[in-house]
Symmetry: C2
Amino acid sequence: MKKTKVTIKEMAKLLNVSPSTISRALQNHPSIGKKMTAEVHRLAKKVGYYPNSLASNLRRKKTNLIGVIIPRIDRYFQSSAISGIEEVASKAGYYVTIFQSNNSYEREKENARMLMASQADGVIACLAMETNNYDHLAAFQENNIPLVFFDRVCYEIESHKVIIDDFGAAVKATGHLISIGCKRIAHIAGNQHMAIFRDRLRGYKEALRKNNIPIDDKLICFTEDLSSMEGSRAAQVFLEMQNRPDGIFCSNDTSAISAIQEIKKAGLKVPGDIAVVGFSNTPNSLIIEPALTTIDDHAFEMGQAAARLLIRQIEESQQNIASETIIIRNDLIVRGSTMKS
Amino acid sequence: MKKTKVTIKEMAKLLNVSPSTISRALQNHPSIGKKMTAEVHRLAKKVGYYPNSLASNLRRKKTNLIGVIIPRIDRYFQSSAISGIEEVASKAGYYVTIFQSNNSYEREKENARMLMASQADGVIACLAMETNNYDHLAAFQENNIPLVFFDRVCYEIESHKVIIDDFGAAVKATGHLISIGCKRIAHIAGNQHMAIFRDRLRGYKEALRKNNIPIDDKLICFTEDLSSMEGSRAAQVFLEMQNRPDGIFCSNDTSAISAIQEIKKAGLKVPGDIAVVGFSNTPNSLIIEPALTTIDDHAFEMGQAAARLLIRQIEESQQNIASETIIIRNDLIVRGSTMKS
DNA sequence: AAAAATTACACAAACGATTGCGTATTTAAT
DNA sequence: ATTAAATACGCAATCGTTTGTGTAATTTTT
């Protein structure tokens, strides 16, 4: 049954009309008669015609393609965001193509190059950990390709952003620990290379300051990537202190969960001895015991917002807004890890 | 600095040569002189030339695009598989565009239609739960577009497949429960609409049969989608039985974890009273207490294998192999949920 | 019924890159 | 010094759609 792809020209020949008539009939152009239009559609169905978007795109200079550059798709936060992007995009008739940087600057550059060649209509990016030069992304703007960052954004180049209020969320999370009576609150901090983790650290400090709690640098543990291993290590350090903390605010759920496991392993109680707060509300936070109090950052909604913002930029390119920042709500979800009964 | 896209023609004009020379120089064609080639590359860099793959693809009739149709990207198994696909694809110079079916047949059909129009070189699909008509996928084959299924494959149309030995894995998992002394083993079964879940049920039964354990239909709980809620419900049913099971083999980790939570809530011990085995080795299985014994199905490798198989089909189209099935290894990971000390 | 307006379609030039073939120039062979 | 063989590049068609403009045929207007 292997058919060969049927084109507009061939259909034109079959109906003894010109290709332009077929093309217009297919898009129900008013200048084509009713019966002709109907006949073309009928034939198209019969021969199994699929438009060749390559040709169409080339002619119209529009690909309906959105490129997404992201560190790792198998992280819940990111796959949720992509899910949101895909949902909005496909409803609007856009394709989504995905590139993983694996947090490598070199790969991110290569991704950008491929994307550039693909003539994508727009780009959504979440920066790799390593990235601190942004020329490969600025290139999109220089070529008039709309660019939207989300979560791990970059303040060095003017662009659209979708973020949450990391600072405020951290204040809220740390404040919550204070409100349940914690006096010595530690923080597992993410890579300070990235603004989101700097902001969370700032928020942590701000909450302490507001409540007249001295900031103790020894209670701040800096990590490379907030991995499970680093979370355990951080917890161990805290546990070995002569004057150990009674609360920990962690910059992600992974490190928070490892910390809880470590605390339990040491024979201490969560939250009785040490209360713990995470960040992102991943599914894992409901499985650990006690369930983890965390910040819901609504990754799916961030993805949706990013896609909507991008599509708006693509379709209203005449406006050419320099930059717009959308801040997505965040919620503190209080669970067992901070519920001292 | 908004530049307008520079084309081969423009570069040709700048160098006073023909476009074909530029094109050939860019791909280092031997028929172009050394210095000319070098000069073209220099100019290309200077003016920031990016090839327009639309035009190139149209001419070459190749898009280097792989379409992936998948139920939901925010499930760990699937995002891992996509990660594997993306890794292999991008190394081979292919783009990956993603479509979520959300387990809806209608959306899957729509996805296939979009993919068809995008002129993708090949398609990788993991079927939606609802799907039981495969015409939209057979259409790819009819148009000579290679198609590879993975995990949730379809035996109704001849095609390439990447799967694991679900039957064997289930035998292994159930056998493991038997080997640690379980006498009454229950099974939380997935939607029997899909082969993988039928196979896991078959494997469960086979293990019992081999060990001369009678099959008790009341110990088999059928679910719609193996969700957390269904896992809890199934566990509740088992727990209320006068003669409750002492082991449960679950068709995925999610339901297994809910089951463990339910068992613990009822005041019983895992594995002391009831041992539990899951399926897929998601990260969650390491967080639940006790850690979950499960089958590692190597989703990432499945994705890699699917991509490699697909690319091979694309690039050796002359061969036109009708179908090839790759079976990925699977491993039983024994953890606390079945370790009766 | 003649003029004007509308309808329904055809022509042909794009979009940007690729490639088979042809040709002028240079290098090598006899 | 001739002829043969490389070398280095230009010409022009092509991929499949889209779209501005042109033009018959039909309908409407007065």
